[in-house]
């Protein structure tokens, strides 16, 4: 990991944090900070940029219920990242702070309940993934061309 990667990853995490607390983030904010760097970076960096921008763009067109599900999804995703520390669950989780979520391995039901959604409605997550999938494809094509689309079916 070099310094530039650290900087851009850190910037992206701060955007995710803003999305988690419903702060206004526009696609142009993301482009301004990250697009020029993503264009000259690795496939992983490009993917990270595209995912963030796709979520930001998709969020603009979402209903309140969908936005709540997106918030639950962000909690869920970040809880699945990093390594789970021993006794981690004994520490209080603050759903408005990503750093307390990372590595907690929360379930979708726990995340949905945290944001006031229906914990039994797993289909909400499925619908959200469908919506994001198309947004990711569109954003990738928009930023880097259609030659190397991620998430394409290989079979």
């Amino acid at each position: 990991m070099n310094g530039a990667q650290f900087e851009t990853a850190d910037m992206r995490i701060s955007f995710w944090q803003r999305l988690l607390v419903d702060e206004s983030v526009s696609p142009s904010d993301v482009d301004e900070e990250l697009l020029s760097l993503a264009r000259v970076s690795s496939q992983e960096e490009k993917s990270a940029y595209v995912l963030l921008r796709a979520v930001v763009v998709a969020k603009q067109e979402m209903t309140d219920a969908m936005r709540r599900n997106l918030k639950a999804a962000i909690l869920y995703w970040f809880s699945q990242t990093g390594t789970s520390e021993d006794d981690a669950r004994e520490v209080i989780v603050d759903p408005s702070r990503l750093e307390t979520i990372i590595g907690r391995r929360l379930t979708w039901a726990e995340c949905a309940k945290t944001v006031g959604g229906n914990p039994a409605d797993y289909s909400a997550y499925t619908r959200l993934l469908d919506r994001l999938r198309s947004a990711i494809q569109a954003e990738w094509a928009h930023a880097f061309g259609a030659a190397q689309l991620p998430l394409e079916e290989t079979s």
Binding site: M1, Q5, F6, A9, D10, R12, I13, W16, E44, S47, A48, L51, W77, F78, Q80, T81, G82, T83, E85, D86, D87, A88, E90, V91, R97, E99, T100, I102, G103, R104, T126, L129, D130, L132, R133, I136, P150, L151, E153
Partner: protein, 169 residues
């Protein structure tokens, strides 16, 4: 299809979390915790350590120990500084003054003894010429310089003694 999307998203975010927060997944060393406790880390690194501490009771406990040890060190160093600046300096000063005082007392006693002895010898020679301690006399009645000398020496010794006793420092 959704599994693939989810896996892709998790893979991307995992890489970001690992890249942005390398400390989050590993315990910082005691040296790093000490630097954090003393404010010796750059702001970004300090923020990463803080994030780690929020979710790691083990390191939070270590930090508490580091803080306790640090406070002991601070107290000890303050104590040393205080002993140098006050107690040690005062003790040295008092020892020096006591030494000077002892020299003065010894000089005064010696001077007083000498002056009393000389004056007594002079007076005895003058007032009791026939005593056994008398110095051999001049039969013609000439000035007895030995008596004058003893009295003068006694007076001089008394003056020196007075000067020593009256000196302030």
């Amino acid at each position: 299809m959704n599994h693939k999307t989810e896996d892709w998203i998790l893979g991307v975010l995992n890489a970001d979390v690992a890249a942005a927060n390398p400390v989050a997944n590993s315990h910082p060393s005691l040296e790093v915790l000490f630097d954090y406790a003393t404010g010796g880390l750059p702001p970004r690194e300090a923020s990463l350590i803080k994030s780690h501490l929020l979710r790691c009771p083990k390191c939070t406990g270590k930090l508490a120990s580091v803080n306790t040890a640090r406070q002991s060190l601070v107290r000890e160093s303050i104590g040393k500084a205080e002993s140098w600046s006050f107690a040690s300096w005062y003790a040295r000063r008092e020892a020096s003054r006591a030494k000077k005082y002892r020299v003065r007392i010894f000089s005064a006693i010696a001077g007083a003894t000498a002056s009393i002895g000389l004056l007594a010898a002079g007076l005895a020679r003058m007032l009791l010429p026939a005593t056994s301690v008398a110095i051999p006399r001049d039969a013609t009645g000439a000035i007895q310089w030995d008596v004058v000398g003893l009295l003068a020496a006694g007076a001089l010794a008394a003056c020196v003694t007075l000067l020593i006793l009256l000196r302030r420092k």
